[in-house]
Amino acid sequence: MIQPYADLGLQREEYDRICALLDRQPSDAELAMYAVMWSEHCSYKSSKVHLRQFADLPRSEALLAGMGENAGVVEVGPGLAVTFKVESHNHPSYVEPYQGAATGVGGIVRDILAMGARPVAVLDSLRFGAADAPDTRRVLPGVVAGVGGYGNCLGLPNIGGEVVFDPTYAGNPLVNALCLGVLPSERLQLSSASGVGNQVLLLGSLTGRDGIGGVSVLASATFEESGGPSKRPSVQVGDPFTEKIVIECCLELFDRGLVSGIQDLGGAGLACGLSETAAKGGVGMRIDLAAVPLREASMVPLEILTSESQERMLAIVAPQDVAAALAVAERWGVLATVIGQVTETGRLVVDWRGEVVVDVPPGSLADDGPVYSRPMCRPADLDALAAAVPAGLPRPVTGEELRATLVRLVGSPNLCSRRWVTDQYDRYVLGDTVLAQPEDAGVVRLDEKTGLGVALALDGNGRYTRLDPYAGAQLALAEAYRNVAVVGARPLAVTNCLNVGSPEDPAVMWQFAEITRGLADGCRALGLPVTGGNVSFYNSTGAVPINPTPVVGVLGVMADVARRTPIGFRHPGEAVYLLGRTEEEFGGSEWAWVVHQHLGGRPPRVDFGAEQRLAGVCAQAADEGLLGAAHDLSDGGLAQALVECCLRYGVGAEVEPDLGPAADPFVALFAESAARAVVAVPPPAEERLHVLCTEQGVPALRIGRTGGDHLIVSGVCTVPLADLRAAHAGTLPALFG
């Protein structure tokens, strides 16, 4: 019999390998499991060879668990660790924005839970087509409501993220969600099954026909005989309430030492959970599939095995602990069922109503998937793009032109206030949020007594990465790093989500290789480990791949969160300094895009040494309590940063546009050079700041003073804060209601 391997997304060679591994034709259920486990999504078959660079980075002592686990774990204080990871849910969010985004949050939260951590915060990085495109009006409100609906209902403060508009994402929005968790170091859980005779427990929702998309070919083949339904929903509906009680239940199981291994069930469902836990533990498992509680009784084995029903966890429990574990689940109202046990056979055997439907070595599913070195080729248009430098674009010259440009940029979709979005997110719940939107990084207190806490930022820039993927990835890293540094934290670890087009397109594959190389080199330069991440391929609008978009998350530690530096000017009379060097850098800039719809040239230069020195000054200055405010410079340059500092608390500023080498006020205001920040300093602390900057070799320029209710660029323009506020605040409400 010919099996429909191609309809399942398997290549002929892959199918032959399965037959060889088993020494026979696979059963339907086995074939379905291989198809999902060897898919790009689960096996990372196209990306593996590139991602190795991250694993090869020097490991830091603080790293308790690195790549390969559900999420990396870093120790941040004696006996206290955090775990964090970012993941994409792009395609589901296009099909059904609310549920796609909601289940994206749900999925990453379970990854964090699986490490033994209590989830304590989320961030979300969102990208949509043009702000005024009709489809954006369909997608954005749903995505935002979904991120909020799920996170709010779980009681997780949302402490940061991004909202970016660009036509490149019109048919393919990006929804990347990050979750942060905290755990006592000794509670760290691993996703491996061990202990022959230990019981396999399924916790959480009923298993339904969710997300079995691809393998439904097999299911419908089976169904045609029985006359059952053949159309399968590919959309999953989130149930945050169930996730909330599953979280509380699992945390109690961990605290009482009742589980020896735990794994979340997400992509590829039980197929993935069972084979990975068994393979990691080097053990076998015998599963009675009929014990799995179902939403629809007519489901067949391959559907049960590959169902991606949300809000489920798999726990390995010693026989003597099963009763206690079930009692904990009952107390929280969580459905819990023993579905099998760990065996010494080394094989994953699945029974279904007296019949063996699966009998395979678990490692063949989890580890022996194909690995490809896909062909790569530098995109043909890259030289032309690089040659189209922005130098020739008409620039604002007069004071009035500069004022108009400033106001226009402040109100442009990528630079305007995000409050329409962020007001839909609870930032207060749990009572430990020290900084959240619109600050540069989210800051969460972990220890009320000592004030120990962490800072997190999530950044990316698809335009920079389009122009130069290597530099673009590094700029994303540099920006997230800088955002964490300016609040006063010491950067400690990196996570990332790499969103690109199809790996079968050599040009995309080249971009991907450059991105990973750039990120790995950047992390090496900064001395930071990559603790985990996610790859999302096949992102395109029509036939055109999206601008390659690495989204990078950086986590930093603060010994005392009370010393954080916020972005807003709070007091008049403080000196305003610009730290870092400004160059005439406009390639991929917001100005070129907004004013000229231009994308070309080179992105800003990356200098990790300069980033480190700037970070050193910010951290030291925060420790010494020198700064009234600090804000990093990124999209929109100095002008945008100053506006944000002024609008935060309604305190204006007067600044000199003459920044030495960048004497042109246009360059001074709008260039997007990296490794820069503005800070406000009370006069008595100025001298000390100078000393710090000199010691570290960070250029520091006193550019003005805070105060008043205008932003004044001396000799150029004077803009009332009220005008800036109107421009800044009005854009998203006008677009989205």
Partner: protein, 233 residues
């Protein structure tokens, strides 16, 4: 003996830990109460915290209202036990008919999280004595279903008898957050012992993590009102 204030945890309660912290910061002793137990553990007052009990799936508070603990909370409240319902807790109190009216979806039909200025309407309740009537305070407001409704007769009566505990201060910078009738943010029973409040004072008890400390007064008020504390002073 500092006042012992019970905080109920329902499945899906989210701000229970924060309410306990607020009690502690105000100088009281928080006592965790479990929804499935019909036992108040001798507490002096009870807080029903914010969150999404049972996912708020049917109607906010509709399922939590039937939790075993609510039997003793309702009986206690009828006998003078002070009860504060915050957000979801307010919704539960309305569903349980301890307070009049209902909370429906915000007129803007979106969840909103803002630092909300309020005007204290009645500083004589068990939970607001630390304030003065007419005082303006800023407290986080975060909900999707915070639009307070009751029929006109009930509203008139609430106003006439001073049972509007707090109102949203609406001005140019602070638009109406949810469309509540007569900008009502909180109401109380005739004795002023049972208070329902949509905003979250427990998130305004320290400057580091809230918009300020304006919310602390709700917790110091009750500690001043309960017999345990009075006896101790």
């Amino acid at each position: 003996m500092p006042g012992r204030i019970g905080v109920v945890t329902f499945p899906g309660s989210l701000d229970d830990r924060d309410a306990r912290r607020a009690v502690r910061r105000a100088g009281g002793t928080p006592v965790a109460l479990w929804h499935a137990e019909e036992d108040l553990h001798g507490v002096d007052a009870v807080i029903l915290p914010g969150g999404f009990s049972y996912g708020d799936y049917l109607r906010c508070g509709a399922i939590a209202r039937f939790a075993p603990i609510m039997r003793v909370v309702v009986d206690g409240a009828r006998d003078g036990l002070p009860v504060l319902g915050i957000c979801n807790g307010f919704q539960i109190l309305c569903e349980a008919h301890l307070l009049p009216g209902a909370l429906i979806r915000n007129v803007g039909r979106r969840f909103g999280c803002v630092d909300q200025p309020l005007i204290v309407g009645n500083a004589a309740t068990a939970w607001t004595s630390a304030y003065t009537s007419g005082q303006r305070i800023v407290v986080p407001l975060k909900n999707g279903e915070g639009c307070y409704l009751a029929d006109e007769r009930v509203l008139d009566e609430l106003e006439a008898t001073g049972r509007v505990v707090a109102r949203y201060a609406v001005d140019d910078e602070h638009p109406d957050p949810n469309g509540s009738a007569r900008a009502i943010a909180g109401v109380c029973n005739p004795d002023g012992t049972v208070v329902g409040l949509m905003p979250h004072p427990e998130h305004a008890v320290e400057a580091l993590t809230g918009p300020g400390q304006d919310g602390l007064g709700f917790f110091t008020s009750i500690l001043g009102a309960v017999p345990g504390v009075l006896a101790g002073r």
